[in-house]
Subunit: 496 residues, 2 copies
């Protein structure tokens, strides 16, 4: 357990330790019964005083994260209902416990069972698209045609930057989204996730400041924290990241990178206004900072188009723009693209080489045919029509069945709604109950780069077919109802 202490960061050292351990526990990296280092040992490895660690442990115990067993040690305690903390039985692999790692948070891993296909589970958690909405037969035929006519694509590595032809088509596609780039300015990645990761590993180190919306895409937080960066949360409202707050924060913290999800933000659905986009770019210019503009699913839109991407105004290479074809065409192929210029781009390509020598050629070729003619635009049109129906169905069902005190967003694009429950609710606990009934969603605790809020949840309407979506939402509403009833007069104890 490596806890990077950042002095002079404006956050008390006690807080940093508490937050770091709580994040590991919330991510499931430290599980029930795991032994924590002794106060003395942690003080030594982190270079802080014993008193500081004692205070951090006290707070963690008060919050119900850990329990001290007199004369034995300190243990992670995440199950309020179990009678006692039992340490994991010893094994030959116990030496691994002393092996320090650089993995402070992994919310994406905690919720990764979502990626396992599980029959019968109603996955309101899954930010992916119902397979019925993909042109699967067509893709399958294309794959056959391609591999038949050019089997070399099975036997060859591709260029590290990505297949040239595909980059050419993507440059055209991006132009239709108002991003003017040449194929030389693009890098193919394994989903936007890898794009974010490449930026972080190339440009961020311990203490570098990253500004993020709060709440934001959970796995981006995981990435930046893993680099030891100082992550500064900036609140988001109906017009995106709050520029007034960001400007004020920049007086205390010099940003190296600003990560935004400006269009149909994950998870709030908010769209950053055009003036704020312009302000953000100006601010990045004045600080010599990078902007990561993550438009993973900006193509999923239901009304008038959103404001032009920040990248479209970028004249001197501050913006790294990302968009994904993993959501809209095929998660099984995991293809996304990143646009950047200058040495920022060449350094990212070097990092891609070091990370995995380039994305597989096969999956790049498989999605190629969709960029020929206007096929992708037709597909997107159909997709958006169908997803709007599902969004409307979800909203109608919530109106009919949600208990009083629950509100939700009505986003004009993207894959999910963001529900807000009464302030005392704990959606981690609610998820625990939901999973017993084979329903899943994502609790808000996963989405906060700083201190989490617990009373929201993300509900995706894109993955389940309509009948299951209906079933899932009605059941979830019943669950919320019971849960809210029960929690009246209860004291708040977080559940992991």
């Amino acid at each position: 357990m490596h806890i990077p202490i950042q002095r002079g960061s404006g956050t008390a050292v006690v807080e940093q330790i508490r937050h770091s351990i709580a994040d590991r526990i919330r991510s499931g990296l430290l599980t029930h019964g795991a032994a924590l280092p002794s106060v003395r040992a942690l003080a030594k490895t982190s270079g802080v005083s014993v008193m500081t660690v004692v205070q951090a442990y006290n707070q963690l115990e008060e919050n119900g994260y850990i329990r001290r067993v007199h004369g034995k040690g300190t243990y992670v305690s995440t199950e309020q209902y179990s009678q006692e903390v039992r340490a994991t039985p010893s094994s030959k692999e116990d030496w691994q416990l002393v092996l320090q790692d650089y993995l402070p948070r992994a919310q994406i891993w905690r919720h990764s069972h979502n990626f396992d296909p599980k029959e019968g589970e109603l996955k309101l958690s899954m930010a992916s698209i119902d397979r019925e909405l993909y042109p699967l037969e067509e893709v399958s035929e294309e794959i056959y045609r391609i591999t038949k006519s050019d089997p070399a694509l099975i036997s060859d590595y591709g260029p590290i930057q990505g297949d040239k032809q595909l980059r050419g088509h993507m440059a055209d596609y991006l132009k239709s989204r108002l991003v003017s780039v040449s194929k030389e300015q693009l890098l193919i990645t394994n989903g936007c996730q890898q794009g974010i990761d490449l930026v972080a590993r190339t440009f961020l180190g311990p203490g570098d400041v990253v500004m993020m919306e709060s709440p934001t895409y959970m796995a981006a937080i995981d990435v930046f924290r893993a680099r030891g960066a100082l992550v500064v949360p900036v609140p988001v409202d109906g017009e995106g990241m709050r520029m007034d707050v960001l400007t004020r924060l920049c007086d205390s913290y010099t940003p190296k990178l600003i990560y935004v999800n400006p269009t149909y933000q994950n998870p709030t659905g908010s769209v950053m206004s055009a003036p704020r986009r312009a302000q953000l770019l100006q601010l990045a210019q004045s600080f010599n900072a990078l902007i990561v503009e993550d438009e993973a699913w900006s193509g999923i839109q239901f009304g008038s188009p959103p404001p032009a991407p920040i990248k479209s105004m970028d004249t001197d290479g501050h913006v790294i723009y990302m968009t994904s074809f993993s959501k809209i065409l095929s998660p099984g192929c995991r293809i996304a693209v990143l646009a950047a210029v200058g040495t920022v781009l060449s350094r990212l390509i070097s990092s891609k080489a070091i990370a995995d020598l380039g994305s597989p050629l096969l999956t790049q070729q498989v999605i190629l045919p969709f960029f020929k003619g206007n096929r992708i635009y037709k597909h997107m049109e159909k997709l958006n029509r169908e997803l709007l129906k599902r969004r409307d169905l979800a909203i109608r069902l919530l109106r009919e069945h949600a208990p009083a005190g629950v509100t939700w967003t009505e986003p004009m694009g993207g894959l999910n709604l963001w529900l807000t429950l009464p302030p005392q609710t704990d959606t981690d606990r609610l998820l625990h109950e939901a999973q017993r009934e084979r329903i899943s969603f994502l609790p808000s605790s996963a989405f906060y780069p700083g201190e989490p809020e617990y009373h929201h949840l993300r509900l995706c309407y894109s993955y389940l077919p309509p009948a299951e979506l209906q079933m899932g939402i009605i059941q979830l509403c019943k669950l919320m109802d019971r849960h809210l009833d029960r929690q009246v007069d209860q004291t708040y104890v977080p559940v992991i």
Copy 2:
């Protein structure tokens, strides 16, 4: 340019700065004409004295890496033949130059043009297999059959750990290679490259000690250096990593990780003896260290099988074993597997989630049919028979055509020979000449974790069809001949 200074590491600070900048220049991350920071600026950002930077710059200038232009600044100078150093013309993206990165070395990127298919070039550089030796038609049919019968694999994310069925088959395959693991102990990665990278990002941080063979797989050096680890080179001889030297080094440096390529080592072809394998494991146990056993191409073998993998003796989870199907089945799919146990495994899976949410399902399914029945074993048999013929052809040609003073290894497996030229030769310079005649190989400077040797080269016999292999080797021999002739009485100046 972030230069992590490691005090008390046994390497002088001047050396660390010199080495870090030289590595960036050798990797092509800093190119001819690029401005280096002023002495004062570098001293400040690295936290060292001005005198230290002056000394480092003096040495770099003596070695021909940089040139100081009075009253202007210090510039990278890699072209001995150009008359003067000209700074790159200024552009709107110049602000990016001040953007510090964490990318100290990228030899894999410098040589990445190898991955671009280029007609007419004789690639003796390419550690990949001639497409004629792959069962391409079969793979193509399989792809069609699979996507037709289960189109869901195009539309779905897979489990982050990798497809369950594939992991099951791989566990069986690994048993045939004497590695007893269950499918729960495996993690699918995008080539071994990503496996190495996942280990590094999870367990290595600034100052952590990594022991590596010298020379070794170049892109593994890139990975460990990118984490700011202290990389300690250990010489390799005919029986693998020198255990006597390693043991002595461990008195000064406590290893956290030992990276080895024990079977048909890349690039020397050396096979680590059974006693040394056992010693290495004992040493790792005594230091609570991890071993990365990279057997990327151990399946390519020409005689009696090599000693059992270190992993086969590992009882308590010290060894992370890796092998690749990217080389033997399909580079276009980029599938490799990693075996580990305990929290080391679970932490690696978390890192995989953060890095890219899991490998594409499609490429995993495509190679599945090869694990049914004994198809993969038959394929390997045929592959080994053909590659042995090519190895023998390469050796015969060298015997006939190589100039006096050139020697080579005769490895019992793998994809390449390792040539040694007279000590004053510079194979970077030789490559420069070879590329003009459209021949490529890898110069030895890429393979050294510490101070490089310049008088070896790696020659792959696996990628070119026999006729081209013959042409390439004969031409290379002529080139070496001319080069050796010319260099008599020349003073040595490194070329980048």
